[in-house]
Amino acid sequence: MAVKYSKDHEWISVEGDVGTVGISQYAQEQLGDVVFVDVPQVGRKIAKGESVAVVESVKAASDIYSPASGEVTEANAALADAPGEVNADPMGKGWFFKVKLGNPSELDELMDQAAYDAFVKSLS
């Protein structure tokens, strides 16, 4: 399925019953240089909208909210040594964690690419 976005600028890309979560191009631009990402523990049960990760830029710490409920199955360990991937490749190598979806119908409330692009445009 295609990528979907939250109003908090997280994206989720689902394969089977597992979603991969990261932050959008717009979000990384707003944050500036990322220097540390605090990713959630594998096995953690998370709720949609819950603060599950923290991105530290030089300037500030920002909470990352899960766009879906479920259980964390994997966290991107590579970000520990290469947090800059969040800036360089936010939709790819800069992913944060994977979640086994508890309630796939939640994704219906998220924005598709066109809706998100329009949302970002409305912010500027």
């Binding site: 500036g32 220097v35 540390f36 605090d38 030089v58 500030a60 520990a80 800036n87």
Partner: protein, 371 residues
Amino acid sequence: MSDPGPLKHTPLHALHKELGARLVPFAGYEMPVQYPTGILAEHAQARTAAGLFDVSHMGQVRLTAKPGQNAAKALETLVPGDITGLQPGQQRYTQFTNESGGILDDLMVTSTGDHLLLVVNAACKDADLAHIQKHLSATCEIEPMFSRGLMALQGPQASQALARLVPSVATMKFMTGAFVTIDGAQCYVTRSGYTGGDGYEISTPADKAEAIARLLLAQPEVKPIGLGARDSLRLEAGLCLYGHDIDTTTTPIEAVLLWSIGKERRTQGGFPGASVIQKQIAEGAPRKRVGLLPEGKAIAREGSEIAIGGKVIGKVTSGGFAPTLGRAIAMGYVDKANSANGTKVELLVRGKPVPAEIVPMPFVKHAYYRG
């Protein structure tokens, strides 16, 4: 906060926009927090080459003695620094103190011989001006020069870049100032800054600020730097940020700024809060500003508690990522009893204890030019 009204612009505002800066509200001004290259690149630029910072939002004030008066002596009634000892062309760092020894603002004072030039913090400048006017109007002419340009040129190549335009600045020593002509305009240059590195601050007429900034940016060593890197640079240098590391509740002694208090003034007093500060000089302050080096990668920001074995002993007042070191650093206040270098503490980051150690500052060695 009451309605702050529209954001003010410095004389370089249009240039910031042209350079693609991200502009944010800061102390009532719309200021560049970063340019398109980003804070890490800007930080490295200022540490390895030269960077140009717009600091025109800061308050410049000129004091001139009224007939029969002494401006330095008058200013000493408001600050603990040795101002009467300033030779023409010398600059000093000091603080406006209050009756309880707290810090109203910190500032730079330069003597030109005929005048004292003060540079105060942007967020405090209106209050500072009112404070100066209240206490010094009888003895000094007080001229706020809030519309002038002020830019900082900082970094190991700042000297070669500025000397290309003004050869005489090459031999200026740290904490000295001089009138110079740049692009036909009379400017006042001091060899000082807020990065811990070599560099200059250049006060310009408002209507010449942009032309001079463009001239400096045309030098191959120089790139524009925003407030984001200004903060990470000063934190690496262990320098206080007013309103965070020092304020009306901290004394210069607690803030470990005793070095900035004149030797004679320590005994003679004569500044607001002198009795409190003199008592702390004699007996020690109840708490102390220290450097903190957290283990691992988590960043303890301002407000994080500092604890030993779960017992809170203080609070972080500035914390961030040090690009030069590639790791997190912080400063904060701890109880005097637990303030020794090497003390192991925990910093509470989002409720989780992060092991850290109290360390000497600066985190990055100062590189001032002392001739």
